[in-house]
Amino acid sequence: MTDTSAEFLPARERRSRRILWLLRALAGDPMAVAATIWLLIVVLAIFTDSLSLLGDNRISLKARNLPPFDFGQSWTLWLGADALGRPLLVRLIQAASTTIGIAVVTVLTSLIGGTLLGVIAGYFGGVVGNVIMRICDIILGFPTLLVALFGLYLFGPSVGNLVIVLAVTRMPAYIRVARAETLEVRERLFVDAARAFGGGPTWILRTHILPSVAPTMLTLASVNLAMVMLFESGLSYLGLGIQPPSVSWGLMVAQGQGYLSSAWWLGFFPGLAVMLTTMSFNLLANWFRIVNDPSQHWRLVSRRR
C-alpha cells in the first residue's frame, strides 16, 4: 500500500470512476434510491438494536394494545403496542435481524450451489446432468412446504435448520433455470467459436456461459430473496419457524391474528415490513442486473440525458 507505482494509478482511477458512475446510475433510478434508503434504515435499526440502544422492551399492562400514531407517547410507541404492552416498533426491529439474516444466507447458499449445478447439468448433460436433474425432480416432487415441514420436524425448528431446509428446497428452481439457459446459450455461435478455438470446458463455462446465464440467475435470486423471506414468514406464521421468545415478522403476524378486528396494527405492520423489505431487495437487485448487463447500459445512459 505504501508503494504506489505509476502503473497502478490508471487502475485506481478507473475504479474510482466506476464507483462514481455507479452512484450516478443509482441516482437516475428513484425506486432504487427509495429501496436503498429503506434498507439503510433497516440496517441502521438492526445495528442500534444489536448495541441495545433501544432499551425499553418491557411488558407494560398500561400500554396493552395501545393504538398507533399516538405521537404524545415516547417514540417507541408510535406504532402502538402489542397485547402485552411491548412497543411494536422495537419488536419489529428485533424481528428484522432474524428475518433478513435468514433470507440472505439462504439465498446465497442456493444461488451459488444451484447455478453451478445447473450450468454443469446443461453444458455437459450426460449421466451427471441426468443425475442432477433427477435429484431436482425428486426434491420438486415434494411440495416445498412439505420438505420444510419435514426438515423442521426432524431436526427441530432452529435458525440453522431453517436455513438448510429453505436452501435445499429452493435450489432445484435455480438448477432448472440455469440448465435451461445454458442449453440455449451453448447452442449459440460464440460458444461454438470458443470451442473451435480450442477452449477447454472450464474456460468456456467461466468466460462465456456463466456471464450469459448470470443476469437471469440474479433476477431469479432477487425474486427468490423475496420468496425465501416470505417462506420463512409463512413457516413462522404456521408456528414451525422461529419460536418465541425470539421474534420474526411472520410470527408477529400470527400473534396479531387473534386481534384482527380489535387491534389491526399488530398484524398489519409486520406484514407491511416484510413487503417493503422484500420489495427493496427486489428493486435493488433489478437495478444491479441492469448495471451488470452491458447490453442494457443504454437504459441508464439515456435516463441521464
Binding site: M31, G125, N130, R134, D137, I138, L140, G141, F142, P143, T144, L145, L146, F150, L154, P172, A173, R176, V177, A180, E181, L183, E184, E187, P215, T216, T219, L220, S222, V223, A226, M227, L230, S233, G234, Y237, L238, G250, V253, Q257, L260, S261, W264, G267, F268, G271, V274, M275, T277, T278, M279, N282, L283, N286, R289, S295, Q296, R299, S302, R303
Partner: protein, 306 residues
C-alpha cells in the same frame, strides 16, 4: 424419437417416484411415534402395544417396508387414522380443489403477466414501465397469508361482502385466488419484462424491423416467442409448487385442499394421509414437468430433446 423420449421420461419418473416414496416412508416414521399421539399420556402399555399391532408398527422396519411397497403398488394407502376413511379417498376429495385453485390463479397470473410484462418492455424506462415495475414488485413481495388476513379484515370484517373462511360457492374462492395470484403474477411480470427487453435488443428484432415488419408484429411474433422461454420454465416450477397446495393460504381460509390436508396430516402424524397426498402430488408434478419440457421443445426448436 419423441415416443422413446416420452418412455424414457416416464421410466425416470417412476424411478424418482419410487425414491421419493421410500424416503417419505422413512421420513414419516422418523418424525415420531403415532401411538403417542392417538392415546392419552397415561394409557397402559398394553393399550399402546395393541394400537401398535393394529397399525402394524410392531414388526421390523424391513417387513413394514415390503408390506407398504406392495400396498402402494396396488394403490392402497390404508385407512386415515384421523378421518377413519381410506386415505386415498380423502386425498382425491381434496386434490381437485387444490388443482382448480392453483390453475385458476396461475392462468390468470400468466395471462396478466404476459400482457403487462410486454407492455412494460416496449415502454422500457417510461412511466408505464415504472408503474408496472412497482406494481409487480409489490405483488411479488407481499406475504400471501398477510394479504389474506388483510383481505379478511377489509372485505369480511369491515364491509361484510365476502366470507372469512370455509368452502362453498364461487364467493369462497375469491380471496384464496386473489392471495395465490399475487406472487406468481409479480414474479412472471419481472421475468417476461426482463427477457422481453433482451429479445427486443437482439439482432433478429433489428433484422425484422429492417425488413419492414410492423411494431406489433415485431413485439408479439418475433420478440415474445423468444421471451416466453424463461416464463414457461418459471411457470412450470410455480405450477409444481402449486400442486403441493397453496399451503399457508389454504390454512388461512380453511380451504379444503391438499396443502391443508398435508399440514394437518403431519401435525397429527397421520401416516396414511401424508403418504397418499405425497403420492398424488408427486404424480401431478411429474406430469407437469413432462408437459413443461415438451412445451419448451415446441416453443424453441434449438433446444434439442435427446
Amino acid at each position: 424419437m419423441s415416443f422413446t423420449y416420452f418412455l424414457k421420461r416416464a421410466a425416470f419418473a417412476a424411478l424418482a417416484l419410487a425414491a421419493l416414496m421410500t424416503s417419505a416412508f422413512f421420513l414419516v416414521r422418523l418424525t415420531g411415534d403415532p401411538v403417542n399421539l392417538y392415546l392419552p399420556v397415561d394409557a397402559s402399555d398394553a393399550a399402546r402395544e395393541a394400537m401398535r399391532i393394529r397399525l402394524g408398527l410392531d414388526r421390523s422396519l424391513l417387513l413394514q417396508l415390503f408390506d407398504w411397497a406392495w400396498d402402494i403398488l396396488s394403490l392402497d394407502f390404508g385407512m386415515s387414522l384421523w378421518h377413519n376413511r381410506p386415505a386415498m379417498d380423502v386425498v382425491l376429495e381434496a386434490l381437485p380443489n387444490t388443482l382448480a385453485l392453483g390453475a385458476i390463479a396461475l392462468a390468470l397470473a400468466f395471462t396478466a403477466a404476459i400482457v403487462m410484462g410486454s407492455i412494460a418492455a416496449v415502454n422500457a424506462g417510461g412511466w408505464i414501465d415504472r408503474g408496472v415495475n412497482v406494481l409487480s414488485q409489490a405483488a411479488a413481495s407481499v406475504p400471501d397469508f398477510w394479504l389474506g388476513l388483510m383481505g379478511v379484515l377489509l372485505f369480511a370484517v369491515t364491509f361484510r361482502i365476502l366470507p372469512t373462511s370455509g368452502f362453498g360457492g364461487p364467493i369462497y374462492w375469491v380471496l384464496p385466488v386473489a392471495c395465490l395470484f399475487a406472487r406468481p403474477f409479480g414474479t412472471l411480470v419481472q421475468i417476461v419484462r426482463g427477457s422481453m427487453i433482451e429479445a427486443l435488443n437482439a439482432t433478429f428484432v433489428r433484422t425484422a424491423r429492417a425488413k419492414g415488419a410492423r411494431d406489433g408484429r415485431v413485439t408479439f411474433v418475433h420478440a415474445l416467442r423468444n421471451a416466453l422461454l424463461p416464463a414457461v420454465t418459471v411457470t412450470g416450477d410455480l405450477a409444481a409448487q402449486f400442486a403441493g397446495g397453496g399451503g399457508v393460504v389454504e390454512v388461512v381460509f380453511g380451504f379444503p385442499g391438499i396443502g391443508k390436508l398435508l399440514i394437518d396430516g403431519i401435525l397429527k402424524r397421520d401416516f396414511a394421509i401424508v403418504q397418499a397426498s405425497i403420492f398424488a402430488v408427486a404424480v401431478v408434478i411429474f406430469v407437469i414437468n413432462i408437459l413443461v419440457d415438451m412445451l419448451y421443445a415446441s416453443i424453441d426448436p434449438r433446444v434439442r430433446v435427446e
